[in-house]
């Protein structure tokens, strides 16, 4: 089943690429704003050989990993805090209600005022985009833990903290993984927009800055090359990394459908 789904996906991607190529070569659109696949590929190869696309990508990925890491730690801490008492739980929920609907990009002007336009600001915005969905999923996962698991845990003599670590966290793994998927997607969005606004810091501005810069040079193919890189990374993380994690954990343990 999974395999057929994947093949279907590839066939659709192939069809879309052909449609793209037909449009580009039809002569009805200017190659200046709608480059052909060949031009995009050439721009990509050129940018990779030249080294800039790769180094900007690595710069972006490093920032995103840092943001995800800090966001995840904060989410765990807040989720644990919310379990400690009724009032603390209410505090954490209030924080989520206030902060979750706020798009990271809306914070940009304030962050520039507070932290300047350096790397720290981008990390801050990623942490903001990652923290709330992750926290929300963690708390939901804790709540959804079947009562019988915690009863068993209490019965064999686990204290509250160990119960959380040994029972609630593994039991909410399906929620945790989907939380990370949402967080990852949000982090990318926030990162690219922030990089576009902040521009280069010491010659490096990440993929967002790279796309922005290519527009200034009217290098449309180069812009698409960077978009393709973003998509490829997205697919790699979604279909390979998350897939692998799911196969090794929740699917192996029968904690999810499929």
């Amino acid at each position: 089943m999974m395999c057929i789904m994947k093949i279907k996906k590839f066939i659709w991607i192939f069809i879309l690429l052909i449609l793209w190529q037909i449009t580009a070569l039809s002569g009805k659109v200017s190659p200046l704003i709608f480059p052909s696949l060949g031009m995009i590929l050439k721009a990509m190869v050129h940018a990779i050989i030249q080294g800039e696309l790769l180094s900007q990508t690595l710069f972006s990925i490093a920032i995103i990993i840092e943001g995800l890491f800090i966001g995840a730690i904060l989410a765990f801490v807040l989720a644990i805090v919310s379990r400690m008492s009724e009032s603390l739980n209410s505090l954490v929920e209030t924080l989520i209600t206030l902060a979750h609907p706020l798009p990271g990009i809306a914070l940009l002007p304030i962050i520039i005022l507070w932290l300047g336009t350096g790397r720290a600001s981008i990390v801050f915005i990623i942490v903001h985009s990652v923290l709330w969905p992750l926290l929300l999923n963690l708390i939901t996962g804790f709540r959804a833990t079947p009562k019988v698991y915690s009863d068993v845990g209490r019965n064999i003599g686990l204290n509250r903290l160990v119960l959380l670590k040994e029972i609630h966290i593994p039991a909410s793994l399906p929620y945790l993984i989907s939380g990370f998927k949402i967080a990852w997607a949000r982090a990318w969005r926030a990162l690219i927009s922030a990089e576009m606004v902040f521009g280069a810091v010491g010659g490096k501005g990440g993929l967002g800055w790279y796309i922005f810069k290519q527009r200034v040079f009217m290098d449309t193919a180069g812009m698409f090359a960077a978009l393709v890189v973003i998509m490829l990374i997205g697919i790699l993380v979604e279909e390979v990394l998350f897939e692998r994690v799911e196969v090794l954990t929740i699917r192996r343990w029968g904690m999810t459908e499929k």
Partner: protein, 232 residues
């Protein structure tokens, strides 16, 4: 062993208060099996959870080996009706070993493993040590849960309709497994069920156990229990 004195428990639902248990007193001695028999919703599970220390009574006292029951302890293990009482992220063997580790039984992993295997063998689960719970049938899951409980060598097993969701044949074989394990370990058992026949197969406390199902004695006892239940 375990002694209940004038135990009362009520639940509030909105403004109304429901008295679920009123003035319950009884005791179970070491090595005895007691069946709590009654229709659904009559408070059997509530009583069992009180005995396990999962909830506290409104009034009255519950004491185990002379000391008051105030929280769950590994000395009295509750076995649930739900098939998902095993931790899905651990294999059958790990599910049995983990509570031993938590309670510092044995120094080495090797010893704990041998101990766990002994109990899995006792409930006839050889060959499934490395399966994950979702790969097991309902009956096998309940066997594993029983092995996990027995391996801790508790003084008392509290069983909350553990075979309630099984088909008749599987239930019968699990009843046999339970009685055999009880023979070997000498653990006290409080067994909740709504099934008169099951109560008669397992209990040795309420009345003498009539072994042969067809006998007139058996039918008499069945009738008697049935009338008591229906009057309620």
């Amino acid at each position: 062993m375990i002694e209940l004195l004038n135990v009362t428990k009520s639940f509030s639902k909105g403004k109304e208060k429901f008295k679920v248990l009123e003035d319950i007193s009884f005791s179970v001695n070491k090595g005895e099996i007691l069946c709590l028999l009654g229709a659904s919703g009559c408070g059997k599970s509530t009583l069992l959870r009180l005995m396990g220390g999962f909830d506290l009574p409104d009034s009255g006292s519950i004491a185990m080996n002379g000391s008051k029951v105030s929280k769950p302890t590994p000395d009295s293990i509750l076995v649930f009706q739900e098939f998902n009482q095993l931790l899905p992220w651990k294999t059958v063997l790990q599910n049995v070993i983990y509570p031993l580790k938590v309670n510092h039984k044995y120094q080495s992993d090797q010893k704990r493993r041998e101990h766990a295997e002994k109990y899995l063998e006792m409930v006839k689960l050889e060959g499934f040590y490395h399966s994950f719970p979702h790969q097991l049938s309902g009956g096998m899951k309940q066997k594993a849960a029983l092995a996990r409980a027995l391996a801790l060598q508790p003084s008392i097993l509290l069983m909350d309709e553990p075979f309630g969701s099984l088909d008749a044949l599987t239930r019968q074989s699990l009843q046999t497994v339970l009685l055999e394990s009880w023979d070997k370990t000498g653990v006290s058992i409080i067994f909740v069920t709504h099934d008169i026949q099951e109560a008669m197969e397992i209990a040795d406390n309420t009345l003498q156990r009539p072994r042969s199902i067809g006998s007139s004695e058996y039918m008499k006892l069945y009738e008697k229990l049935y009338t008591i239940l229906c009057e309620k």
